[in-house]
Structures are given as C-alpha cells and as structure tokens.
Symmetry: C2
Subunit: 195 residues, 2 copies
DNA sequence: GGAGTTGCCTAATTGCATTAGGTTCCTTAG
DNA sequence: CTAAGGAACCTAATGCAATTAGGCAACTCC
C-alpha cells in the first residue's frame, strides 16, 4: 500500500481548506482523513487529537495574519497604515473565513507559537497607533478600541448581518475606518469627554 | 413512573443554564436530558433536535436582549441612551455568556420569532441614533458602526482578551463609549473625511 | 371507567473521537 | 547487501452524542 505522505502541515492545511469551504465545524478529524484518503486514526501520528487540530489551525491562521500585517505596514504610517492593516484582517476573513474564525477562537490552549503570533499582531496595532497623537497611557484603550471595531465589523459582515438591503458593506467599512481615523486623530479630545 | 413535567420552555431554560455555566458547546441534548433526569430521546417531544435547540436558545436570548433594551431606552436619549443600551448588551454577555453567544450565532435558521427579536434590537439602535445629528442617509452606516464596536468589544472581553495586564476593561469600555458618542455627535465631519 | 392522547421509555443505528496494538515500508549501520 | 529499528498507516474496539422507531403508562375527558 503506497503511503499518503502525511505530515502535520499537510493535515493542518487540509483542515484549513475544509474550514474555509464548509465552516470551522466541518473541519473534523474524520473529514480531514476522508479528504486525504486515509483512516481517521492515522492522523494521530501528526496531531494529538481534535483540540490539537484546532490549536494548529489557530496557529496557522494567526501566523498568516501576522505575516500579512507586517507586509501591509511596511512603509506606511498614519491613516494609510490603519487602512492597510485593517484591510488585511477584513480581506483575510473574506478569503479564508474558516481560518479567520479559527484565529478568533479564544478557547484553545495558548501554545508558544500562538502566543508569539498574537504578540506580533498586538505589536502591529501599536505600530499603527504610533501615527496618531495618542498618549502613552491611553494606548491600551486605543488598541482595544481598534481591535473591537475591527473584529466586530468583520464578524458581522462574515455572518451576513450587513447583506441584503441598504448600502453596501463596502461603504460602511470606509465610513467605519474614517470614523476610527478621526477618533484617533482627535484622541486628546476623546479623553476629555470620557470623564 | 412519575413524569418529569418537561415543556419546551423548561428544556430551553436548562440548555441556557448549561450554556452559561459550561459554554455553548456543552449545551447538548445529552447534557440537557441528563440534567433534567430524563433520557435523551424524551426531549424530541419538545425540541426537534440539536438545530432546534440552538434556534430556541437564540430566540430566548435575543428576546431577552430586546426586552432589556426596551427598558433601558425608556426615558433616555442622547449619550445616556447610548450608554444604557450598550451596557445592556455588555452586562447580558457577562451575566449570561452562553445565551449571549447563542444570540450572536448567525448560522441558525431564521424563525419568525428570531426575526422579530432581531428587528426589535435593530429598532433600538435606530432609536439611540435619533439622539444624534446623523443624517437619514447615513443611519445604516452609523448603526453598523455601533453594532460592530459593541459586539467586538463584548466578545473580546468575554474571551479574556482584555484580562491580565494593563488597565481594566472597565476603563476601556468607558473610553470606547466616549469615542462612539463623540463620533456620532460630530458625524457630519466624519462623513466629510470619508472621501 | 374506558378511549385516546401525550409523555417518557427502551432498543437500535450512525457518526466522530480516541486508544491499543499490529503490519509494512523506508532508512541506515554494519 | 542485509537486517534492525522506527515511522506511517492500518484494523479492531470502546465511548459518547444524535436520531429514529416503536412501546407502555399516565393523564384527560366524556
């Protein structure tokens, strides 16, 4: 019997494809094995089980995002950087919905690789902020604001909440970025009104 | 054998409790039956299966949210209305994480009850907007902005992303609301910078 | 107090996850 | 060149969740 040439990356890649095509919940060990032309238990040589598959998927996706984020930020600053970085996330979510969902799953055990990728993304959001007059002490708040708006929009859009009637989500996205840009630009004022 | 007195609401309530305590994924038919002291197939007289259980949970949660939203908006307008309404969602998510997650699950079949509850929540966000000078044509964008920020923040907070180091998520929440309030107040300007 | 409906049950099937324990193929040291 | 060892994949078997089919008992209502 010829071997299938399984490797951990190959298994994770197939899981990622399945997650993108049929949803994260469809990326099961059974489905991956079936798709690879292999029996389910054979996968256990490469992943430790379902949890590990999920964790590996999260790592894969978050690392992808971090890589794209770095490329997007290269040579940009201010609102250009903000838009490019935010678009990386939105585009990734549309291109690879399953992987994006896996990256957003916060209930996987934090592996070193995962932590590192998360740290890279965090560093990127701080880098974006460097283009705005947000005082040191407020940076965390601004990062959380950016992350919240970004994640919320992308998830709602992916879930179809902005489909159908009304203006395109494209326009809303442009507006949201404009609002975010202005809020960050005028941050000192925002801080005043927080009292 | 004495009967357990099952009803659809009782089944859904138990599912909701389980979802809140052990996570949405733990709210399975098996677990609900076990907790109710009943065999799994007995539930099929009250719910059609797993999908229906999920849908019922989503209805329950979204209706709860709509009810609370109505109460929060009564007699309030402007930033008071915004804060009260946004807090309803955040508080609900913290009080009933499983139910909130069920409400946010956008992959359940849309039942009439679910549609109605969703429409009520949508109406509430439009009501909040009435306290701000957002032109008619831009209301949808503003609604999407509010919804995105709200959902993103609440989910990230629930996932523990704002825990640990740094300032409290409480502060960040106050800041986010302040920024949102100001952005809506200054909306005409935001519209200009969108170009 | 009997007929029918309803509520809950047992039995049985299917599918995914997981563990245990082979067997075959490939590499590499002697 | 060959035999040892490990890696890759397999079959067998178990457990749990979901689902369907069909049965009996307990309420209801005339």
């Amino acid at each position: 019997m010829t071997r299938a040439g399984l490797t951990r990356p190959a298994v994770l890649e197939m899981a990622a494809v399945l997650a993108d095509e049929r949803g994260l919940r469809a990326a099961t060990l059974s489905a991956v094995a079936r798709e690879l032309g292999v029996r389910t238990p054979s996968l256990y040589s490469h992943v430790r089980g379902t949890d590990d598959l999920r964790a590996g998927l999260a790592e894969l996706a978050l690392t992808d995002l971090a890589d794209r984020g770095d490329r997007a930020l290269a040579g940009r600053s201010g609102r250009r950087a903000l838009a490019a970085w935010a678009n990386v996330h939105r585009d990734y979510a549309r291109e690879h919905p399953g992987r994006f969902a896996a990256a957003g799953t916060l209930d996987v055990a934090p592996t070193p690789t995962l932590e590192e990728a998360a740290a890279r993304v965090a560093a990127q959001s701080l880098a974006v902020l460097r283009g705005y007059p947000v005082p040191e002490a407020d940076r965390v708040h601004a990062v959380r604001l950016m992350a919240s708006l970004l994640r919320g929009f992308v998830e709602l859009e992916a879930g179809g909440a902005f489909g159908g009637r009304g203006p395109t989500s494209e326009e809303s996205w442009a507006r949201a970025l404009a609002v975010l840009d202005e809020s960050l630009t005028r941050w000192p004022h925002a801080a005043l009104t927080a009292s």
